[in-house]
Symmetry: none
Subunit: 283 residues, 2 copies
DNA sequence: AAGTTTAATGTAACTTTATTACACGAACGA
DNA sequence: TCGTTCGTGTAATAAAGTTACATTAAACTT
């Protein structure tokens, strides 16, 4: 377990002074590993032995040993930890926090994603007669993004925000069609119903959603990622970002599976777009 | 450059005693990073200052600093680097690469984003009579996402994919309106023209785009982030993700600026959504 | 609610660790 | 051969980390 994450997780288990130390370290781990125990103690406004006790509580032999662990975890794992935005944060502070939280989130998502299932999903997608992407609310922009990506592959594809259009589309689906549903919670009633209809019409249902959710139960294949819930009102839904990256992953897998001739095509599409742009020399 | 490799490579450049130190470290680096300078000196059968000099020769401040560098280099795998997907990658490999590249990208974006400008943008947005979000192609899903976020703030807001609708909307704009344009390259002709129209009608133009691009030149305020260009056809546009996070940042800044009463409202909206969901006990 | 106990924290003495200053001796060149 | 330079070690010094203990705050008991 990553030392920095460990500190973050145990924040509540620490005593008042120890928490001060923890906060200083989380705020600037890179500085911490270069500081002496005296400097760190001063930064956290506690005494040196408190810092030492803090280190021991984290199962290290002492301060130098702790620094070693921290230094290694800064390389290995995420240097970033989910930090909530505070009411009094300035632009610099909240910008950093949001970027870092998002990165921490992606790291978590990556580690909990089952790549065997990714592989199966890619299998199914490459063999699809038609692919549909459906999401509602915040997830609808993820569906749009997926449309944009898969559209370039020149295969029958569709994407609707509208729940009725989604239903109609599913009613018309048949064997060989694949429907991808996107929902963070997997508990949006309307969407779950659409998924059921898709299944009833022999479509293959892939869900980017939470494990064991109602939506997951209606699906043939569930791609889930554990992403911390957005308990904080300031905190934007990083889950959405993780879903987008997952779409990237699926699109990439798709491209790879299709072989080299297919990739030549892609280059042509990309080149086609540049014609609607100013030349680089216009810069 | 990896410290251990560096030692290995420079073996011949060291003096006799220093080489002894180098050999001991190469033989058991894990032990070395946990030893004191005295222990290491004894292991190498040299004096302590020799070890110290050895450390300085490797451009470190001293023994503790050297240990830090060594410790970090001993950790395998560099996580946050942009690694291109390879034709022969399996699902696990490309999944990891894409997630990690995206994180690397976000990190880069974070570091190149000017928070002073973020602050100004938030200023402008909070005072806007109406806010519009426009993007084309891949950026249109970013615009949608922005709509979804800012919509909750209960202010006049709009978002169009259609270039004609965008134009019409801009022609009708007036003093106090803010239009946010989203474009990775900033060179999409159609969008640049819309921006010009917006400006001509006294709207305040914010662009999430590349510095010095034609779009940037038509804008009152440019939020740019340096994100590696997607040279690789496999590699999905991580720039899009960075833009989404930037939207998150702006939305958060907006929320903070509006004060605590406003945030109470947001909680209500959030609660309102849950009614269209299955209860948690349905899980 | 007061007293007792326990946990948390800081002070100061002490130990360990690292660095510096300097001296000695070998290698090299004139 | 002498002087210089470079490498090395010894010893002194400084810095960092740890321990023991005293003090204070918190919690629990009666």
């Amino acid at each position: 377990m990553n030392t920095l994450e460990l500190i973050q997780k145990n924040l509540n288990a620490f005593s008042k002074s120890e928490r001060k130390v923890a906060e200083v370290i989380i705020a600037s781990p890179q500085i911490s590993i270069r500081s002496s125990i005296a400097t760190l103690a001063k930064m956290a406004e506690v005494s040196e032995p408190t810092v030492n006790r803090f280190c021991r509580r984290l199962d290290t032999k002492g301060f130098p040993d702790f620094k070693l662990h921290l230094a290694q975890s800064l390389v290995k794992g995420t240097p970033y930890v989910n930090r909530n935005v505070d009411e009094h944060d300035g632009a610099e502070a909240y910008t950093a926090k949001i970027f870092e939280s998002t990165m921490a989130c992606l790291n978590g998502a990556k580690n909990t994603l089952d790549t065997t299932l990714v592989n199966r999903a890619v299998d199914v997608l490459t063999q699809a007669k038609k692919i549909s992407f459906f999401g509602l609310g915040a997830s609808s922009s993820v569906a749009h993004d997926a449309l944009n990506k898969f559209f370039r592959f020149n295969i029958p594809i569709c994407c609707f925000d509208d729940i009725l259009m989604q239903k109609m589309s599913c009613i018309n689906s048949s064997e060989g069609d694949v429907v991808v549903f996107i929902s963070h919670t997997g508990r949006t009633k309307a969407l779950v119903e659409v998924a059921r209809i898709a299944r009833e019409n022999n479509a293959f249902v892939i869900a980017l959603t939470a494990l064991n959710s109602p939506l997951a139960k209606e699906s043939n294949l569930v791609l889930s990622m554990s992403v911390p819930e957005d308990t904080d009102i300031y905190m934007p839904m990083a889950s959405r970002i993780a879903q987008l990256v997952l779409i990237d992953v699926l699109a990439t897998g798709f491209t790879l599976r299709r072989g080299s001739k297919f990739r030549e095509n892609l280059k042509r599409v990309k080149k086609g777009i540049t014609d609607s742009r100013f030349d680089l020399c216009d810069l």
